[in-house]
Amino acid sequence: MIFFSNSVIVFIFIEALLLLLLSIAFINVVGILKSWDFSATSTKQYLLEKRSYLVLLIIFFTLGFKIILLPYFIYMIDELNVLVPGAMCAAGVINSNIYGVYLLSLKVRILFLVGLWIILNHYDLQAKDYPFFKKKLWLFILIFFLIIAESILDIFYLINIVTDTPVSCCSAIYGVSGISNPIPFDLHVSELLGLFYLLYGLTLISALYRYALLSLFSNMAFLYSAYYSVVYFFGTYVYELPTHLCPFCMLQAEYFYSGYFIWGTLFLGTFFGISAALLQYITGKEIKKMYRYSLAFNSAFILFCSSYVLLYYIRNGVFL
């Protein structure tokens, strides 16, 4: 029944088209990688250079569309909550079968790699002699295989979305069960928040002073702690309800789609922080802009989340 939904049809169509284009690009990339020698002035090399221009263009546009497709995927599963009994938001739909969480996690990881590829491609094209050409093609091959896995998971997930059996809503999925603490390392919320702000401090220092290794690890740790902090603390101030724990409900209109800003800034901030380090390792060059973007987005994320708490306190005189 979900396959009659407009958003699902659009999603499947675009995914199939992108996969087709990426497959064509993949076949060409394998051929280019086998014979590429930029210093050569043979006919074969000139033809490879000509072909690689088109192939890279195809890859650039399809991967660019993949970036847009993730928020659309989230919008799509949020829309499907009306068809899935028991689901009040995307959380219920994503957890309606075992594939959902793995699929979403894989999509986010692919997005990271896609962003990395786009930036690496940009710096490669800026140079006269394609210094990162082979590296970016190998990265594309990795991304391609992950996208194949993603497509398979997409099919399994969509086929297995139940419309006749109630699923758990976000309160059941993310709520504290009484016995086990869902926050990792059995941290209390106050300890989690302490960790969250301390890790932000680390990302801040790593961005200001451009410490690559510190940026890599602090942003990874910050992303991890930020996810739990948003779900188990800041989210409650978005919903103004201490028992409402959900990363997806804040994507809805009634909360002014604030979830897109929250998750978007977090993703971008940590992406730039992690990528700055990875690209420095790959290219051998320090890319100052990336650190600045990481600083900007992480700070925007922190300010936005903290402002919910502050505004609540100002309005009500108490915390939740």
Binding site: T41, L47, K50
Partner: protein, 222 residues
């Protein structure tokens, strides 16, 4: 200044109508040299000139201009290289008829991030050398053939190129204007510019220049 090694150019490669325009050409042009590429229509001289100017890539072989392997440059860098190092004078001028002389001359400087003042100075100097300053505000469509050619020369000079490439520059000029063009070429060569002229016009025999004959895509040995 210009080094061509084993240049081959095949149009429509791997197709039934493929045609080899250049066959294993090796040619060196020294800095400040004036070279005439002489050959009849279809001999491959325009193709060779376009390869020298990075307008097209060879099928094989290397092209080094002012130390840069231009055939290997990606399009963006090739465009930048042309804008900074090369000047072109085409047979059909390739000017924008609706724009003025000054505007046409300024076009190569569009992406150079110059201030308006610096731009005006460069354009003025180029028009001065090409003896077309008196027509700076005139629309190109109102110029004579000779004046259009001077406008094209000014445009070729505005970015202070090290190399000037001319493809049949006198094809659309009468003999008087052709003579004037030759005089201008001598002046430019005296300024230290490396100049390559692809032509079959015998008027260029009056120039004190090296002549290389090209026939059916190959250089003729003297």
């Amino acid at each position: 200044m210009i080094q061509l090694e084993n240049i081959n150019k095949i149009y429509n490669e791997s197709r039934p109508n493929s045609f080899q325009a250049l066959k294993d050409i090796s040619l060196h042009v020294s800095k400040g040299e004036l070279l005439i590429l002489k050959g009849v229509s279809g001999s491959g001289k325009s193709t060779l000139l376009s390869i020298m100017g990075s307008l097209i890539k060879p099928s094989s072989g290397s092209v080094i201009v002012d130390g840069e392997s231009i055939a290997k440059l990606p399009d963006l860098h090739a465009s930048n290289f042309r804008a900074q190092k090369l000047g072109f004078i085409f047979q059909s001028f390739n000017l924008f008829e609706a724009l003025s002389v000054a505007d046409n001359v300024a076009i190569p400087l569009t992406n150079q991030s110059l201030t308006l003042e610096a731009l005006h100075v460069s354009v003025g100097d180029a028009m001065e050398i090409a003896h077309i300053s008196h027509k700076k505000d005139t629309e190109v469509r109102l110029l004579s053939g000779g004046e259009k050619q001077r406008c094209a020369i000014a445009r070729a000079l505005v970015n202070s190129p090290k190399v000037i490439l001319c493809d049949e520059p006198t094809a659309n000029l009468d003999s008087i204007n052709s003579q004037k063009f030759i005089a201008t070429i001598k002046e430019l060569n005296a300024l230290g510019k490396t100049i390559v002229i692809a032509t079959h016009d015998p008027i260029f025999e009056t120039l004190d220049a090296r002549v290389v004959n090209i026939e059916n895509g190959s250089l003729l040995k003297r």
